[in-house]
């Protein structure tokens, strides 16, 4: 099987290389036969990769220790689902997953439904296959997942205990799906630049892939944060580690691209910015890979130092130079259709938000690269702490939250109308009231007050925009008018949903960052300890045998304000195969706060050492992520797939509202 796998890997490399060449040459020379042969080679290449992926998955689940990769990342006691997740537990497997997903996405792009013929399909496909060939070549020559083991042991090393977590079943594949997805907008940008076809058609083609990749990367980051919160046991979810930053930075530039594409679509502005962001976001995905493989960064994640990281760096350098030259060469084709007319327009707001997002990404990049940068400029290695990032996140987060609040009430191309100005004032008043209520409830931190105000402003502005839209509908029944508005502009309201999720995320991040409390306890069995309104009683300590490990759990009965509130079971797990202990935190989640407990060892059976952490509003972070995901999913549905708005019997109000848009007219406007 290892030989078959290696042959398939080599076949995939050759097929992808040929496919990239044949598709590019066929497009350039107008030779349809050459293009067709390239497409056939691509299908064969992806099929070969599928065989390799199937062999590896089968070997992992079947504990086939003839494969070196299975020996390194699996064991007989490992449950089958974690055996499968060992697929992406190592370097070679994760590269294979990435390449395989990229191959599937490339085929989806080539053969997927398309509403209009596109001259960019062939060159875009060629770029995708070229990149796929690069990934497969790195596997074949640097990290072979099909490598046979030198001897066939009776037991493998097993998967790292921290990776045996449900989030790890999904988090890495979704992150890789995001990385693979960003290759498509990049390929479209390169193809558009090469063909000189950067127009509305390019935007329509690019938008769904940008949204898809942004969504996948965002879900991956969210799952990673949840894994860190429950698994790493320090009470937080984001430590500004270089590897975390590596996925966040392209997500930030990708978020900017999502917005800039809208400005291009509706007003024909920020075209160069969009193309540069498409190239940069893809480049930054490769940068994230460089981070994980070069070994030059001070990360708490442990990495093997392999030459693959430097190959990615060279690839990024080629991207930067090549992308810059292409953009400079085609700059004439990307001139704006109109200048941005005023600061109070939506395109100006998009420009400001995109700038803020890119700035945040740049700061995170500088912080991540601080060691090599400081060594290059000052001759000393310096690392910066979380304060460096948090200090920047605060003003930029507020700016973005303010932009989110104002956005629904401003127009493309024209300044605010008097009715919109009044509505904005009303929303601002709602925000001020919210900040006042926060102040009255004892919140004193200026950042928290600002977020309370801006979050309420944003929600009020979105509600007001929906009501204003509904009032323009020909329907006397208000709820039907609202429904009609929602159905007529599904993408617009999908955007609102994403923004609502962002508001929830901002509230959660602010609450959990500023309002956290922590206490370390030494407590005897049967003893209760009072802490900030909690009464924590250590009831008992007990052991359980689990597959591959022994769990030592402490039962903590928590009362709040004199009433039983929850039981926490923080634990220590002893992993027999790896011969070491890990912590299992216990979390009681509620809408106002999480109570988080970490059990430490070394105190004997009747006495434990526990850290208790109160994290306010944590649930709002996960809720925000889910709402953003839901919004993006709605935004991905092709406009034609939404059911038509319900018709309603005309009433006397019709004559009075003749100038208002009918559902059909507004739907047509949205389609445009």
């Amino acid at each position: 099987m290892t030989v078959l796998g290696q042959l398939c890997l080599l076949a995939a490399m050759v097929a992808c290389g040929y496919a990239a060449f044949a598709c590019a040459a066929g497009w350039r020379l107008g030779h349809r036969g050459l293009s067709r042969s390239g497409v056939a080679a691509a299908v064969a290449g992806v099929a070969a990769l599928t065989v390799v992926a199937t062999i590896l998955g089968w070997a992992l689940v079947g504990k086939d220790f003839r494969f070196a990769y299975v020996v390194d990342y699996s064991s007989r006691e490992l449950p089958w689902h974690y055996s499968l997740s060992a697929f992406w537990g190592g370097q070679a497997g994760s590269l294979l997953l990435w390449a395989w997903l990229l191959g599937l996405l490339a085929l989806a792009y080539r053969f997927g439904p398309r509403r209009e013929a596109s001259p960019l399909v062939e060159p875009t496909f060629a770029v995708l296959l070229g990149y796929l060939g690069f990934l497969v070549a790195m596997m074949a020559f640097g990290a072979d997942p099909m490598e046979p083991s030198t001897s066939v042991p009776s037991e493998g090393a097993g998967l790292g205990p921290s990776l045996q977590h449900p989030a790890m079943l999904v988090h890495p594949p979704v992150i890789f799906l995001g990385y693979a997805g960003w290759a498509v907008p990049f390929a479209l940008a390169v193809a558009g630049l090469a063909a000189g076809r950067l127009d509305a058609h390019w935007v329509r083609q690019t938008r769904p892939w940008v949204l898809f990749s942004w969504l996948a990367l965002g879900i991956g980051i969210l799952l990673g944060a949840q894994w860190a919160y429950e698994e790493l046991g320090w009470g937080g979810y984001w430590g500004w580690d270089p590897v975390e930053n590596g996925s966040l930075i392209p997500w930030l530039t990708g978020t900017a691209l999502v917005h800039v594409l809208l400005a291009w679509r509706y007003r024909g502005v920020l075209k160069k910015t969009a193309v540069l962001l498409a190239i940069a976001t893809f480049g930054l995905c490769n940068f994230a890979t460089f981070l994980t493989r070069s070994g030059i960064f001070s990360s708490l994640h442990a990495f093997s130092q392999s030459p693959l990281g430097w190959m990615f760096l060279v690839f990024m350098a080629v991207l930067a130079v090549g992308g810059g030259v292409l953009v400079a060469f085609r700059r004439g084709a990307m001139m704006p259709d109109h200048p941005i007319p005023a600061l109070g327009t939506r395109e100006a707001l998009v420009a400001i938000s995109a700038f803020a997002l890119v700035l945040l990404a740049a700061v995170a990049l500088v912080g991540t690269l601080m060691i090599p940068l400081s060594q290059a400029f000052f001759g000393e290695r310096i690392v910066v702490g979380a304060a460096f990032y948090n200090n920047v996140l605060m003003p930029i987060g507020l700016l973005l939250l303010a932009a989110t609040g104002i956005a629904p009430l401003v127009n493309w191309g024209t300044a605010l109308l008097p009715a919109q100005k009044r509505t904005l004032l009303l929303a601002t008043f709602v925000g001020a009231v919210s900040a006042g209520i926060a102040l009255a409830t004892g919140i004193r931190h200026p950042m928290a007050l600002a977020v309370a105000g801006l979050a309420a402003l944003a929600v009020a502005a979105m509600a007001a925009a929906l009501i204003l839209d509904a009032r323009r509908r020909d329907d006397r029944r208000r709820w039907l008018a609202v429904l009609s508005a929602l159905r007529s502009r599904p993408r617009q309201y999908a955007g609102f949903l994403v923004h609502l999720g962002f508001v929830s995320l901002a509230v959660g991040v602010t609450g959990s960052s500023l309002g956290t409390h922590e206490r370390e306890l030494d407590v005897r069995q049967g003893e209760s300890i009072e802490w900030t309104g909690y009464s924590v009683r250590f009831t008992r300590l007990f052991e359980r045998d689990l597959p591959g490990k022994t769990a030592v759990e402490a039962q903590l009965d928590v009362a709040r304000n004199g009433l039983p509130w929850c039981t926490l079971l923080p634990a220590q797990h002893f992993h027999r195969l790896q011969n070491h202990w890990t912590s299992r935190v216990a979390v009681h989640a509620a809408w106002t706060r999480d109570l988080y407990a970490i059990l430490h060892r070394g105190q004997g059976n009747d006495r434990i050492h526990v850290t208790l952490i109160e994290n306010p509003l944590m649930r709002w972070i996960w809720l925000g992520g889910c709402v953003m995901t839901a919004g993006a999913l709605v935004g991905l549905v092709p406009a034609g797939r939404f059911p038509a708005p319900p018709s309603s019997p005309p009433g006397p109000h019709v004559a009075l509202r003749r100038k208002r848009l009918s559902p059909k007219a507004s739907r047509a406007a949205d389609e445009r």
């Binding site: 390194d72 992406w88 537990g89 370097q91 090393a157 097993g158 998967l159 790292g160 205990p161 921290s162 990776l163 698994e231 790493l232 937080g236 979810y237 984001w238 430590g239 500004w240 580690d241 994980t292 493989r293 001070s298 708490l300 994640h301 941005i340 600061l343 100006a348 400001i352 803020a356 700035l359 912080g367 060691i371 000393e380 290695r381 310096i382 690392v383 910066v384 702490g385 979380a386 304060a387 990032y389 948090n390 920047v392 003003p395 930029i396 700016l399 959990s512 960052s513 070491h580 202990w581 890990t582 912590s583 430490h600 060892r601 070394g602 105190q603 050492h609 850290t611 952490i613 994290n615």
Partner: protein
């Protein structure tokens, strides 16, 4: 004044504020990142400064108190050894002969006073998973988002 120019001025202002905030945050939290060998070699100039020192715990030197709040050990990279005294919560998987990063100050040339020990966590792309320490017990840098 054109809208483009207004936007450019706004961008410069926002970038300036951001850079200032980053500088403030950076100057409050930066640390020299050195190996144990470098720390011993340049000890005189590093006394009193914030440091993040990487190295391996020398076998036979690790002593941990029963409440796991204090530990002493020696750290080495290749040649020199640096005595370390740490206070605060310790990683559950703190052990001899593993890679750690200690944050703290060099009290005098012969002692690093640590307030935090970070053990590397096993993660993706780890080529040799058997001897690595656990992510779940790695005490990560406090002060991130929680």
């Amino acid at each position: 004044m054109s809208t483009g120019r207004k936007l450019a001025i706004g961008a410069v202002v926002v970038a300036g504020i951001t850079a200032s905030m980053a500088y403030l945050g950076g100057s409050a939290s930066w640390q020299y990142y050195v190996t144990a060998d470098e720390c011993v070699t340049n000890a005189d100039s590093l006394v009193g400064t914030r440091l993040r020192v990487s190295g391996k715990i020398v076998p036979g030197t690790l002593q941990v108190t029963a409440d796991r709040r204090h530990a002493v050990f020696s750290l080495t990279t290749a040649e020199a050894t640096l005595p370390v005294a740490c206070s605060g919560p310790l990683p559950d998987n703190l052990a001899e002969d593993i890679e750690v990063v200690v944050e703290g100050r060099l009290e005098h040339p012969g002692l690093l006073r640590g307030n935090k020990v970070l053990t590397r966590c096993s993660s993706k792309y780890e080529s040799d998973p058997a001897p690595v320490s656990s992510a779940s017990t790695a005490r990560r840098e406090r002060g991130g988002l929680r």
